[in-house]
Subunit: 258 residues, 2 copies
Amino acid sequence: MMLQEQRHKMIESFLKHQKAVKASELAVLLDVSIDTVRRDLEILEKKGLVKKVHGGAVLIQNTDNVLNKLFSEREVKNIEKKQEVASLAIELIEEGQAIALNGGTTTIEIAKAIVDKFKRLTVITNDLRILSILGANKHFNVILTGGFFNPEEYTLYGKQCEEILSNFNIDIAFITVNAISLEHGLTDFRINEVGVIQSMLSRSKYKIVAADSSKFETSAFINICPLKEIDLIVTDHSLPSDVLEEYSNQNIRILSPH
Amino acid sequence: MMLQEQRHKMIESFLKHQKAVKASELAVLLDVSIDTVRRDLEILEKKGLVKKVHGGAVLIQNTDNVLNKLFSEREVKNIEKKQEVASLAIELIEEGQAIALNGGTTTIEIAKAIVDKFKRLTVITNDLRILSILGANKHFNVILTGGFFNPEEYTLYGKQCEEILSNFNIDIAFITVNAISLEHGLTDFRINEVGVIQSMLSRSKYKIVAADSSKFETSAFINICPLKEIDLIVTDHSLPSDVLEEYSNQNIRILSPH
DNA sequence: CATCCTTTTGCAATATTTTGCTTTTTTTCA
DNA sequence: TGAAAAAAAGCAAAATATTGCAAAAGGATG
């Protein structure tokens, strides 16, 4: 017989692949009675991982929309490009400055890069993954915006989160967004992240967007701000030269590795 | 017969491959009684390497949770007493309430206890270890006070941290402090934590101090507040009856397991 | 090496938790 | 509406935990 904990893990991973499962199937699979399966599902439901339905259970989907999910799957793929962006971006930072990093995979790469390069920095972020990278370094002054915890993204959001930012004068904000276009400016699917980004931008002297080349000339659902409010976009080497030229014509500055 | 140390190593390496193991399996494998296995697992649990579950134990993996990478385990003093305090304290909570937990090992035990017992709670805290425990339950509404990150305690502090609390109306605040005495009231050594505690108390309808018996009639450097501002102190069974009586004479309510 | 002391171990009695079965109630769908 | 399937509730048996205790093992000391 298996441990309860193991059964729960199996049910979870089963549901991650199948979205829905019958209680009777699980009983066979786990070699326990259907009653035990029901009790297991009850516990998982209490934790908010599954939802019990007549006949079995279904996986609890992200409350965020499906587009967001599709996007975050694409995100992980461009990791080398993001590293390229990050190493270029951190060249703009000077020792001792106060910088802001919003939630996102590109800013995570920036965090990884600065932890090696700088001795002393003040960093304000709403992303707990960034905190976990920078927090180990005792010389860094890390400030976390407070607010509501988003367990999907490991970020914080909300009015309180945005208010706290108004206490600080930030030298550089490094912002990552889902999409950039000349027509719509910065846009995003993450409904809760947008407010944080806007607050960070408004509190920063120098506003930089860090975005790999795949983000250009795409757009997402929620408007953040027009591109003219941004001081600089940092990207990777594979941005087509015609895009680069067009942005340049519109007076949007782009920094990319030559 | 094998040395205790060797058994522990074997259990560890076994768990590294198998993630979970039954106590009865280990008894056969190590050729000792199941009681000895349980005692071994208890020791490994205290070291933070495994988690005991009914029937055996599971490996604690910091890959489960981004934040866990940050935390280095420290030996917790009086953990059994703190668990006793925690299980008594959570009896006072009702489903759906909003509670506050400040930073400290006793509040961590409270967090572990509530995550299993309750389905839906709103919790506000300045402790990242508490966040990482409660994050396991997707139905919990977890709010993190923002502020400066303290890498020694994994907590947040500062003016901003205290201000954010003023946005919320908390049902119950569970507070842990270094020291309690009739003469000095609540006192603490953690200079940055004091402000957070005071803010939490001022925002809460019901103010509860959770403290194991070793804290009584000791005092620390920084004053927090006199005992008369506290509604209830929850403690463990080993508080001497004369202390209990004296507090009772002074109209300080104490709850302890009978 | 015998003695004392501490720690560890296994055992037995007791308590707790988990499980599967039975019965009753609810839900589904024709 | 009514029959079949599923879920909930209650219960007893099995598995697991806990506690206290005595025996065994191991160490230190003279």
